[in-house]
Structure formats: structure tokens, C-alpha cells
Symmetry: D2
Subunit: 329 residues, 4 copies
């Protein structure tokens, strides 16, 4: 960590900061410039309380050098993490597509959708959130669809009290964007042995996103799958701004797989197909796409759901893109 002193800092004030750094277990290293003194804190930066240093009146600013996360970082683990769910590998050479409706509405709806997306090439089935306390049977349709198609299931968990129940039935636990910094929930899924699909919060920086993944991993669950799903900007055309820049950025900073959700990420049907192609072109490990047999009558998100036929067309169009970047789908 680099501590920049104020221009008029006295020798006594400089020594005070140096002493505080030592008290925290690091070694101060002074660099007296033309205009101001800069103090490097050498050692494990995690020992240094940034807020406390900033609270010293003679300190102008504090510049962290080390990344605040460790387990998620590419420096900690060089090779790409590949997460296995049954026969499916997420993060490997194959692009994995997760598809399904925003919410399970009926046994027929989910089974019909599951069969259609499987036929088109999807490898996992998404089916909204499972709320075992409020609607304990809502999960049955999804379970039957899994039985009928063999597709593993991704379900969102929204409450610490539900983790055990959801974990029992679901193959991947999803943490939604609105809960990305619900630390109690992160802790619970961190204790699970099921893979966790962590969606980026609407205004989460890349650092915060990775820190939330770190939080899960530090509880012992290293099977974290990241997912970009749109950020909040001033843009008025689409519901959110799908931020594909994080895909290559995460590939550089982290070994974890990164998926892209163009359905929520844009909230706009017309953008789902082109942004799916772009996601794969820039290195995403997979996609999550909303598919509904009858979007006009969907309980929610009908305006961003593909019909099974549109989904099948898209899957076909994605193949040459995947090949162009040395992957398959």
C-alpha cells in the first residue's frame, strides 16, 4: 500500500504514520519527493487497515497495490477452473448453454421447454427461484423436467433458510444480482458442496464481483461460476447495459468460468441473439438464455424470452462463432 502524505505534512506527522504501519505489522519505506513524501508499506497488505490510515489528518490519500482477493485470482491458480455438473463441464473447451423459462408456471410448460432446449443443444435447465417455505411444491415440475430430459437444474436461492432445501434438489445454486452482496447468503452457499452461479450486481465493480466470489470460496466452496447480467447505466434503450468488457477482464484476473446472461443483461428480445454471439466471440464460457413456449403469456420476462424455435435458430448460429474462437458448442 502506498500512503501519500499531504504537501505540508511535518516530520512528526510522517513518523506517526510510519509508526502506525509498523504497529500493523508492515515495514514503512519512505520516499521523499519534491512536493511530498510518499510512504510504502511493505509486507502483507491485508494486515493494513486502509480506513484507519486514511483517518489520519496528515494523510492525503492511500493507494492499494495488492488485489484484495486471493483465491479467485489467476495468480493463485494458473489453470482455468473447470466445474463438473454430471457430464457437463463448465469452463472447458465446450461452450455451455443454460436455458429455460424465468419461472416455472406449470408441469407442461417446463417439460415442454426442457425438451425443446435440450434438443437445440442446451446442457442445463434454468427454472427461476425455488422458495421451499412459501411454495414447497413449486419445484416438482422442474424435477420432472429433469427426469424427462436428464438436464441438470439451476435454481436461484434467495434466503439463507432455504439453502439446505434448494441444495437437495438443485444441481447448481444461483445467487441473484440483487443478492450479490447479501453476505449471509454468500456464507451459506459457501458451505454447500454444490456449484454456485454468482450473478454480478447491477452496480458492482469488477473488484466487488470477484470479492463476492472470494467470500464464497473462503467458506470452502471453490466451485463458483461467475455470470455477467447487465449493469445499470444512463442508457435508455435497453433495460440494462450488458457489459461484455468484463469477460476478457475476468479471464485475465481469475481462473473461474464466466457466463453471460443476454436475456436479463439487455431485457430486450432483439438484442439477445447478437449479444450472445458477441459474448462467445470475446471469450465467455457459456450463456444463460430465457426460453418460453409462449412469451405473450409468460408470468414474467415475456418481453425478453425467446421462443423454442428462435432458440434453436440461435444455437445453430452460435456454432461457427464458437469454432472461430477455437471452441465448440
Amino acid at each position: 500500500m502506498i500512503i501519500v502524505m499531504k504537501k505540508n505534512a511535518t516530520e512528526k506527522e510522517i513518523q506517526h504514520v510510519a509508526k502506525r504501519i509498523e504497529e500493523m505489522g508492515l515495514k514503512p519505506h519512505l520516499s521523499r519527493g519534491v512536493e511530498r513524501t510518499v510512504i510504502g508499506a511493505i509486507g502483507d497488505e491485508r494486515l493494513l487497515k486502509e480506513d484507519q490510515i486514511k483517518a489520519i489528518a496528515s494523510v492525503d490519500s492511500v493507494l492499494p497495490i495488492m488485489k484484495p482477493y486471493k483465491l479467485v485470482s489467476r495468480e493463485f491458480k494458473k489453470e482455468d477452473t473447470i466445474i463438473k455438473v454430471g457430464d457437463v463441464e463448465i469452463g472447458g473447451k465446450n461452450i455451455v448453454v443454460i436455458a429455460g423459462p424465468c419461472a416455472v408456471e406449470s408441469r407442461e410448460q417446463i417439460i415442454e421447454t426442457a425438451k425443446a432446449v435440450k434438443k437445440a443443444g442446451a446442457k442445463l435447465l434454468r427454472g427461476g427461484a425455488f422458495k421451499p417455505r412459501t411454495s414447497p411444491y413449486s419445484f416438482q415440475g422442474l424435477a420432472e423436467a429433469k427426469k424427462a430430459t436428464g438436464l441438470p437444474i439451476v435454481t436461484e436461492v434467495m434466503d439463507t433458510r432455504d439453502v439446505a432445501a434448494v441444495e437437495k434438489y438443485s444441481d447448481i445454486l444461483q445467487v441473484g444480482a440483487r443478492n450479490m452482496q447479501n453476505f449471509e447468503l454468500l456464507k451459506e452457499v459457501g458451505k454447500s458442496r454444490k456449484p454456485v452461479l454468482l450473478k454480478r450486481g447491477l452496480s458492482a465493480t469488477l473488484k466487488e464481483f470477484l470479492m463476492s466470489a472470494e467470500y464464497i470460496m473462503s467458506e470452502g466452496n471453490h466451485n463458483v461460476i461467475l455470470c455477467e447480467r447487465g449493469i445499470r447505466t444512463f442508457c435508455e434503450y435497453s433495460r440494462n447495459t450488458l457489459d461484455l468488457n468484463v469477460v476478457p477482464a475476468i479471464k485475465k484476473l481469475s481462473h473461474l468460468p464466466i457466463l453471460v446472461d443476454p436475456s436479463h443483461g439487455t431485457g430486450k428480445l432483439d438484442l439477445v441473439a447478437p449479444m450472445s454471439k458477441a459474448a462467445i466471440a470475446c471469450g465467455a464460457d457459456g450463456l444463460i438464455i430465457e426460453v418460453h413456449p409462449n412469451p405473450e403469456k409468460a408470468i414474467s420476462d415475456g418481453d425478453q424470452s425467446l421462443k423454442p424455435k428462435e432458440f434453436a435458430d440461435l444455437m445453430r448460429e452460435l456454432k461457427p462463432i464458437a469454432r472461430a474462437v477455437g471452441r465448440s458448442i
Copy 2:
């Protein structure tokens, strides 16, 4: 709701939309313009599934007219809501200041702070989050400080499983910015009889903020106190951008009290005092301010905490501002 048809929509497509509106229990009202047909849906807009209408291919866009919230709205309740916590009234003529440290570090720290902020004019004591399952005794210091000073207590609750325990000891339940859309938590505090202090999420629009309050109120708890605490923008100078525009906006749209947290809202010590004054000048019902006896050694947020002496000075400077807008402090 106004449904704008695409320019080339056929008569059959227009009739299809009209029929869907009727199926949802509203009355369609066609308006054939020069370039396109616009359909008004007359009746209770809440019956209309916007996503489903948008999913119809011949529909260009959908413009909601009614506000999506009801209980929080000024139209539902004309007079300002005043929330009583012991002798303290929040939302009335008096400006209420809540003060205290970010976290309870020791019995001495919290009691010393409580006495100091009470003497300076604070009416409630804040003391971070209470996590009864992980540190069951952490609340004791806060309870003693309450006993010593008589100041009611505001504590954050972060987990649905903790609501009952926190509710038992705390006078106001705080829902943090990161949990503003943790709907399971909102539901639980909505069932409580204790007032809820709801902090605005970092990227929450005004509508989303009010919708979260509506969610709590619809569970039966009408004692909701709103709190602006900074939004995320491109600004690099302060940690967040304190958005005071919402203060007069909320006063117009809602009857609920609105507080401002300039400590988290700016994350910058120098900005706390001027932005506190600005908050009161534009109509806030109170402030939440971080105070720590020794910010250099605070466990967290030392860089934005006032010392007791600075807090007392600020309280003095706020008095003429409050008077200037016809209030007292």
C-alpha cells in the same frame, strides 16, 4: 397503460392487443394517429402484465401511467407520517439526528460515544449490525449504552434468521443498502412491529426505492423510514455521490420520513458537515452520522467518522439551518 403499436401494425394485430387487454380485465381505448395506433388500457393498471404486452410482436412500446406503488404514496396518505420511537418523533417538525460508530468495538467505546452524541443533541444511537448467531454477545455494549443514556438504538439486521433476535433488543431495524432488494428480508421486517430504517441501494432508482418500502408496508408494517446514503456514479472524488435530489422528490411523492446519511453517502470526512447542512436545507427529516472517539483506530469507516468534538460543532451549525427552513433540532 398506453400501448404504442408498430407503424405497420395490421388491423388484426391491433385487435389482438385489444383482446389481450380485455382478457386482463381492462378496457382498450383506440386512438388512431397519423403514423400509428395507440391503445389506452383503462382500468386498474396493476392487472396488466406489462411484460406480456411487450412480448407481442406488433407492439412497439408500453408506457405505464400509474405509479407501481400505492401505500407509500402521497396520494394514498396526504399527511406526513410521523414515527414514534419512545419520546422521539421522526418525520415531524424536529430534525432527528442518529449518531454513533460504524461498529461496536468495546463497552467503553460505545458508552463514551453514546454519552458524547447525546450531549451534543443526537436523539438515537446507531451501532452497526447485530449478528446474534455469530457473535451473540456483541449487542451487550449497545444495550448498556442505551441504559446509560436513554437513547433508543438503531441496529442493522442482515439475515432473515436474525430478525426476531434483533427486534427484541433494537428500537429500529435497519435494512442496509446492499439488502434493499433482498425481498425475503424485507418480508420479515415487514412482519415486525418495530420501525424499519430502509437504506437506498447504490443503484436504486427512486421508483425501486419506494417499491421496496411498499413491499415492507404491504406486509403490515407501516413504520418505514427512508434513508438516502449515496449512489454509484462515475465520480472519482468521493466514495459515493450523495443524491440530495431525492429528498424533495420523496417529500412530494410519499408521506414517509426521509433521512440522509452523509457519512456513507460521501465516504469523505470533509464532506460530512457541508452535506449535512444541505440535507436539512432541502427538507430532510434527519441525519445519520458516524461518530467515533478515535477514528484512527476504528475497526471500519474511520476515514468518514467525526470525532465527538467535530460532531458537537456540526450540531451547533445545523441549528440556524433548521430554523431557516422552519424546523428545530
Copy 3:
């Protein structure tokens, strides 16, 4: 345009609004709902002064229905606009890549770069801004590079007083992001017969971006090439957030060609190649890429410039992506 009246608007107030609409040359169409009256203004929406209607106290809100632009819209012109610059066609089946340094530093630098990018497949040469009044000879290097390679030239014009001079030497006039709403400059390039490359402002909405293009076109110059170059968000990792969502959005709304500038759009060398691929995958008509023979010694933007060898590698990798979306490069 749809005018939503306030809930308690009187009959007299409703009639006042209706009369104002008539005065502006449109026909009012009343729709009396359960909660409020909504007034449609039928006719040419461009005649209606939105600000004036909003200024009426009994009006709650005003919802425009027609798009504010016309010439740029896909509704005005169905087929894609193809802009010819010498032999090069922008907006056609071929993906066009514009490459070159951020600034012309020397005769050698620009000629060397021009030869390298031409060999790799670039079709036009970019060379920063030409400021004829402050450095009248700075353009010479670029002119020689054009002569040596045959590559047409793209140059930024920054001052209304320079348009005539830049137009004389340059094949495409570039308007930079910081001048996207410099209306006097837009007017001048609108009078030119040379194609204009219009870069999106850092916080321009899609509507504002298209409105600036409309402004140029309404002066008579229909050869406008749009260019996405990154928006300003809270993101800390890259300098800007390249917003590829606008590519398919513009393709839908407008007939104009849209290019992408991944160099400025990300400001990050590592992101240039993957985001270039993504841009083409989602439908961009071309790219603008910074190339410098020795980025470590570039006058500016060295940190986002590719070396000629890296550029050649990227061009090779783009080919299969272009093919995958039915285009060539």
C-alpha cells in the same frame, strides 16, 4: 404525444391542455380513465413543444411516441446506407478496418504504420486531429503516407474554422466524442460533401447519438458513419465501458453504418482483440484500431495501441468471425 393529466385535474384544466394542443396544430384525443385523464395529441408530433406542455401545472407527465429523428431512421430509409470512400465501401458486406496511430509524430512513424496496417488488411488510415491553424504542416506526413499506400485518410476536425482546410486533405472528417454535441461543428461538417465519422459522446444516449447524426444530415450531408467508442460508467477496470449493445440497436433503428473503436472504448490493450471480435459478432460494420510501431514512445495513448505485429495477428483472427456472421474482411 401522450399527455397524462394530474389525478385531480379539473375539467377546465383538461380543456386548457386540449386547446393548447389545437393551437400547436394537432388534434387532442381524450381518454378518461378510472384514475386520470390521458390526452393523445394526434398529428405531427414535431409541432408539439414538449417543454411548454410540461410547464402547465395540471399536467403530470408527457410521453413522446414518435422518434425525434427522421432522416437517420430505418423507417425513413429501409436499405442499409453504404458509404463509398474511393474503392472502399463502409456499411456493405465487407467489414472495414481503419487503423493508425493516435497522433502523427513523424514522417517515418506514419509511413511505416500505414504500410504495416495496409499489409495486414486495413482499408483506411487514421491519424489523429489536423489543426491547420496551430500546426499547418502536421498533415504532410499523413498525406505522404496516403500517397505511399493509397489508403484514404480519416482525420478529426475540432474547430469550425478548420473544416474547409481539413476537408481539402482528408477523405473522412471525424467528429470526436467530446464534440458530439458541438452543434456549430456538426452544422459545418453537415455542409461538407465528405463523409463524416461521428463518435458517440461519453454519456450520450442512443437517442442523442442519432439526433446528432440527424443534425448533420439535415444540413445536407447524408454520408454519416456512426462510431461507438465507450461510455462512462462506474467501472474501474477499463478506462471506458465499450457498449456493444448499441450496435444491434442502431442496426434496427437506423440505416447508417456503425463502427466500433475498441482502443478508446476500453483504453486497455488486453481488451482490444476480444472486444474487436465481439463487435463484429454482434453486427458492427467495421473497427477503428490504434496501431503504433513503438507504443512505449507514443505521444499519446501508447497504453492502448497495438504493435503492427499484434494488429496483423488480430486481423487474421477476425476473418473466421466475419465469416461466421456472413461477412468478409
Copy 4:
């Protein structure tokens, strides 16, 4: 400047960076940490080309320490700058209010408005932009209003070619938000002897805002008045988000006066009065407010213009706020 090397940087790479720093005229100062080497560049940071250093492959990141501006900084000039326009002082103990319509529509409109705002306490008259080439006589009304009331005039200049003409008639030259980084225009007004009112761009950081002021000052014109007028965020309620945080921030970083424009800053009539009060409470030196005798018929911005009576009421309400912060109005 602090250069952070990549974790695996070799000794040779470290020496290369050190050499480059020396070549640029500064002294490298190495600090070998546990994980990585950090190099301080001691000397005049302005000599260091940040982009070039970043372009070196072994460099992880570059952290500037010195502020990029000088003339605008509080360190360069301790005392507040007071700018005199006739008898009016901007930046002193008195709060200065500039008022008037968005555009001059007629001789009567502007004279009537000028008289009304003068009576209410405004010290300067605003009157939109003056475009001498397109409407050479449009300025006459404003000139007459000045003659009739004695109020000095603020006019926007939008084209480098107009600076001389506008300067001749106007007392303060305004540079609009959309031109904040129109560097050619900044250069021209920098050569003028008339004070310049510089409006913050919609997505300008504080640093960029001050850099634009620096640009003007470095041309010789030290009479720069800053003006906050709202930034672009995700907020949907008001047109822009008035960012009052910059008021105390600028007071700390710079000696220049800072005004606030709540009319454009919010774009919402209801917010003008409360945000005006807040602006003064947090330290602004003045306000710019749109006033129109008949907003319903204003050529533009009618929806955010106060009527003369509302303006007079506001001026009365501002007095006790000004007094509360030790100033007058």
C-alpha cells in the same frame, strides 16, 4: 508517480522502467516489496508520460500522485478568488444570483424579466446563447434590458468564430456543458479578458472539470467561474442529478468560485427551490436560475422555469439560509 511492476517482473524489466523514468527527467526510487517492486518517480510528475509507462509490458499499473492541474488549485493560490463584474463580486461574502430566461424571445419578454429579477435581488441577467452569425440582432433585447436595469449580462458562446462578437457585448462569457471539453473554444475564451462561466459537462469528473478551467487559465484568463449543472446518472425522476458534493470538494481543491444551476441541474420545477437552498447551505457562491414570465409559452425549458413571483419568493427564503452559513444575499 508510482509505478507498480507486475508480480513476475524481472530485474532487467525493472531496470528498463527505471531508465525510462530517468530519460523523462525524473529520478526512480525502487521499493522492493514482498510480492512486487514499486517504483516511485521523483521530480516533476508533469514530465512523465503516463501512457508511455503503462505501455511497457512489465508494468502492472501507474498511480499518479500529483494533481494534473496547477493554476486552479488551492495549493497554488490560498485565498478565494473574487471576480468583479461591474459592482458585483462573485466568490466573496455575498451570494450572487444570476437569473433570466433560457432564450431571449422578444424585447418585452427580456425587459420584463430583467426588471422582475432585479427587483427580487438578482445581480446578473442571463439570456441564453448569442449567435452573431446566424441571428445578429438577437442580442439587442438583452442589451436593452441591461440598459434598462443596469444588470450585467451572461451569454453563452458556442463557436470559436463568435468569441470576439460575444465578448464585445456580454459581461460574462458562458461555456456550456456540452462544450466543456471543446478545447478550441476554451482556448479562445482563455484569450479573452472577460470572465468565463464554465459549466460542468454531464459526465465530467471533478478532475476533468478543473482541468478545463486550468486550460482556460493557462491561456492567461484567470477569471474563471465554475458552475455545477447536473450530471448524468441512472436516475429517472429528474432530468439530471444535481451533484452538490462537488461544491465543498471544489472549495477545498480550488480557489475559484463555484455556482450551482438548479434549473438545468434537475430539469424539474419542484426541485429548483429546495436544491437552491441546499446549494447555499453547502457553500456555493451563487446560483443561476431560469425565470420566464410565461413558462407555458417559453421557447424552451418552460418546464423548469420559475415565474417572477416564484423567483421572488425563493429569493426571500434564501436569505436566512445564507445568514446561517455566515453570508448574505
